[in-house]
């Protein structure tokens, strides 16, 4: 499903200097896999995830999603692909502060390429409510992000990532700010979603303890994949 061919990403910083974040990575992820990539901070995990999602343009190499090179697509097609095929769970708080939990879950449907009619909107709302129920927050539909704990916010983000029934779920350090118990709950949620829907999951984390939740694990160091983990 995902194919990276000798992909590198270098960030330019001040005074003409540049920092390589990902160097010559070649990787294949099959449909239905739950791949956990571990590595220390600055090892290039997040950049790798951004490259896969088409959020960062590779300096060299090719990124293919279902055989399509993302960066060769026009902006509208890239956006449609992200909207329809990919669900995101970020490391940082990524809910819109001015929207309620339910509205946040519905947000990706706002950007759907085909403008949804009233019936489709009602369907989306029904699904959003169901997803909120699945992540255990059916009583927080109208709560604003500031009224939710970090763990609850992350559950809302997971619900949002699933609203458009994605084929690929990308999670960037989804438990980094959470206590151990909540971390276990969130990871169990990912595992359950993977088992139930068969969605391909690519999760990056600094914690090697989380590799047990995946079907495969890799380790990154210095912008390169250095070993199969676990």
């Amino acid at each position: 499903m995902i194919e990276l061919q000798d992909v590198s990403k270098t960030y330019s910083i001040a005074k003409g200097r540049s920092v390589p974040a990902v160097q010559g990575v070649t990787l294949q992820v099959e449909r239905g896999e739950f791949l956990v990539i571990t590595g220390r901070s600055g090892s290039g995990k997040t950049t790798l995830l951004n490259l896969v999602a088409g959020l960062a343009r590779p300096t060299s190499g090719r990124v293919l999603l279902d055989g399509v090179e993302i960066w060769k697509l026009p902006d509208a097609e890239q956006s449609r692909l992200r909207n329809e095929k990919i669900g995101f769970v970020f490391q940082f708080p990524s809910l819109m502060p001015s929207l309620t939990a339910l509205e946040n879950v519905l947000l990706p449907t706002l950007f759907a390429a085909a403008k949804s009619d009233t019936k489709a909107q009602a369907g989306a709302r029904e699904r959003a409510v169901q997803l909120m129920d699945e992540v255990g927050l059916s009583d927080k539909l109208d709560a604003y992000p500031r009224q939710l704990s970090a763990g609850q916010q992350q559950r809302v983000v997971i619900a949002r990532s699933l609203i458009n029934r994605p084929e690929l779920l990308l999670a960037d350090e989804p438990t980094s700010d959470l206590d151990e118990q909540t971390e276990q709950e969130i990871m169990a949620t990912f595992q359950a979603i993977h088992a139930r829907t068969g969605v391909t999951v690519l999760l990056v984390t600094h914690s090697t303890q989380l590799i047990v939740f995946g079907t495969r694990a890799l380790r990154m160091q210095g912008g390169q994949i250095v070993a199969a983990d676990g």
Partner: protein
């Protein structure tokens, strides 16, 4: 939920930015509408006052030029006299096709014999008049009869009375002229015969008599032949009749027009400065706002928002604030211009005529469009910059 609703919710979440942009939009709209209402209104007023005069040349006793302008524009009564024979002398000047004398009178202040105090009264000669006649023929089907008058737009019959008391004599108000915004709106027009009768009766009916010196007139309105040069005719009048000042209609209110031009320049400069500062402030505020929300915008892109959708969402915020601020600014400026009209006229020394409601609405819509365009332009650069960034760059700290 659509992009507009998303924009509205975002605005509610950032009140400081919203208030700054709202205030700037209100200021811009208020300034442009207030300034335009006053300047255009004053210009209309001067033009209508000249049209109402209806003559090519106004001849008055020399040295009274400022007083007649003040009387015509501000309604301040003027008294000056010259021999009635001047009218015949003017009529004999080559190029003059009509010369009609007028008397300038005024009602008394604080006297029970005059129901409207210090009102400018203009008596005309129906035999030679050419300025009021067309209006009378069209609206009253004939001449004013004895003890009848027509009034400017602001002349009214006092409540509880059937007519207007002038020096103790009852005068019927039989018609009202269209509004000019100038002093003529507070003036009354009557015939020589009516004026002389009021003057005669005033010795017994009024607390103070109305004195009209015998064989005297205040001014002569002159109509020039279409093929004659108005300036040359005015010069000929000045040369032929000593002691008079022929004022060409095109030169009337020259000082007021210059004053208006100066005011217009000041308003344009102030408006320009205000506009630039407001635009810079809006651009700065939007730049700060999108920088603060970089991560949020990156997330929107990651969730499938196109660059255009991000741009639209941010610009909708600018549009909503511009509309709200613009409407409030226009409403306040229009109301203030209406409520403080007398104060503004006093400060400017030039009257102004407020346009009709539809005129104000049209002006308001034009002002709103201008403010809308300005706010969108000011917000465009920072929003365009952020919408063109790669989402990963936007999301980085």
């Amino acid at each position: 939920m659509g992009l507009i609703r998303l924009a509205r919710r975002n605005l509610a979440g950032s009140s400081f930015r919203s208030w700054v942009v709202f205030f700037c939009a209100a200021l811009m709209a208020g300034f442009v509408i207030g300034g335009t209402l006053v300047i255009r209104g004053a210009d209309s007023s001067l033009r209508l006052a000249l049209e109402r005069l209806g003559a090519d040349i106004l001849v008055i006793p020399a040295g009274n030029e400022a007083r007649i302008e003040s009387a015509l524009l501000m309604g301040v009564p003027a008294h000056f006299w010259m021999p009635a024979s001047v009218a015949d002398q003017i009529a004999a000047v080559p190029g003059v096709v009509a010369a009609s004398p007028q008397l300038y009178l005024a009602t008394l202040r604080g006297a029970t014999c005059c129901s409207l105090p210090e009102m400018f009264l203009i008596a005309y000669d129906p035999a030679t008049d050419f300025t009021l006649r067309p209006w009378l023929e069209q609206n009253l089907e004939g001449e004013l009869r004895l003890m009848e008058a027509v009034g400017g737009n602001h002349v009214y019959i006092p409540s509880g009375q059937d007519n207007i008391l002038i020096y103790g004599s009852a005068v019927d108000l039989v018609g009202t002229l269209e509004q000019t915004g100038a002093g003529l709106d507070q003036s009354m027009f009557l015939t020589f015969e009516t004026a002389n009768r009021i003057a005669r009766l005033s010795y017994t009916l009024a607390v103070k008599p109305l004195e009209i010196p015998p064989d005297s007139i205040s001014s002569v309105l002159v109509k020039v032949a279409p093929d004659a040069d108005v300036h040359q005719v005015a010069q000929q009048i000045a040369a032929a009749i000593p002691g008079v000042a022929p004022m060409e209609a095109t030169n009337l209110f020259k000082e007021q027009r210059l004053q208006l031009l100066g005011l217009l320049r000041s308003i344009v400069v102030l408006l320009g400065i205000t506009w630039l500062l407001a635009m810079a402030l809006i651009a700065l505020v939007f730049s700060m706002a999108v920088n603060e929300r970089r991560r949020e915008i990156g997330v929107m892109r990651a969730l499938g928002a196109t660059r255009l959708a991000v741009l639209q969402s941010l610009l909708w915020e600018a549009v909503l604030l511009a509309l709200a601020g613009g409407v409030v600014g226009i409403a306040i400026a229009s109301l203030a211009t209406f409520l403080f009209r007398d104060l503004i006229v006093g400060l400017m020394g030039v009257p102004f005529l407020l346009p009709s409601l539809s005129g104000v609405l049209a002006l308001g819509l034009a002002g709103l469009a201008l403010v809308l365009a300005s706010v969108v332009v000011a917000a465009l650069f920072p929003t365009l910059r952020i919408s063109l960034q790669d989402p990963a760059v936007s999301m980085r700290e």
